[in-house]
Symmetry: D3
Subunit: 67 residues, 6 copies
């Protein structure tokens, strides 16, 4: 299955912080860190844990540019 999302940043989960509804996932990818907020249930359904190899996905319309 392929997804229309074209921003795909591979990395390793460095940290997970769970609240009651949402969870913050910090992914280490080379020199950068990508921070994601997803629902806690989504994090648990994927069985996410520190050290997992994952890919951060970002829709192009969500990306802003700073110059």
């Amino acid at each position: 299955m392929k997804v229309s999302v074209r921003n795909k940043i591979p990395g390793t989960i460095k940290e997970i912080k769970k609240g009651e509804v949402v969870a913050e996932i910090i992914v280490k990818s080379g020199d950068i860190e990508v921070i994601s907020v997803i629902t806690k249930d989504a994090a648990e359904e994927l069985g996410l844990k520190v050290g997992d190899k994952v890919t951060a996905l970002i829709k192009s319309t969500s990306v802003m540019i700073q110059k």
Copy 2:
């Protein structure tokens, strides 16, 4: 000035494609490409052009995780 957006990916503009309303900006950042869709007017106000050093900004709530 600092922005609450914590995902900041530095890179160089590789390609710009302008439509009537929106524009697609492709940013080369190390091994990855980050693709952004912003308004054409925003691209012109920033004077974006190929070769520019820029930073792609992404709000954490826009980032999904694939495992």
Copy 3:
């Protein structure tokens, strides 16, 4: 591969409208239609065409409630 996006609506592509930068994809799913705007390049990379079986994916933080 699993994605953290929990809103998955299966359907069939009813219509595709391509602009220079973005494309509108209308997906028929039972009684409802789901309308997506993705980049034209994404639509072409996936080889989307009318009649295709697809799944519309929506991050929970993008969903609003009306009562």
Copy 4:
């Protein structure tokens, strides 16, 4: 009043989970479930409760396609 959002999925609230800042609303709509994350205050201002008839609203630019 009409809203520019064209994705409207009618259903019934199946579950509400409230955190301190945000709340997760699960809406049953035919065979599918639509999961929304809104602010807790928004959920309380609308007086949302299990069994309510509601409509999930999703902007087209938030919808991705998987094939």
Copy 5:
């Protein structure tokens, strides 16, 4: 009908720019301008035209803070 979106900015349409797929709507609201990108079809379904009294709606999770 009430919507869970809590950011509501009333104003008057100052300008509309239509592309093939999306449209840019500029709303004058007191001293500020609010710029929206919606689908062209949505703009046409609402019959939007310059001078219309409208309300710009923004989900809280889409709002960033600069200090």
Copy 6:
């Protein structure tokens, strides 16, 4: 540094509510209030507190229109 985000609403922080993962920031701007949900860490990195002069930033593709 300039950002491609064109919706910039200046105001003063009226209220901050922190959860474990995200925080709600209410900004008073003239007659309106703008409500933002960002990560708690972002709020703390910016050192946000009630009374701060800030600017709410909103990407055009996140803005909907009601008529």
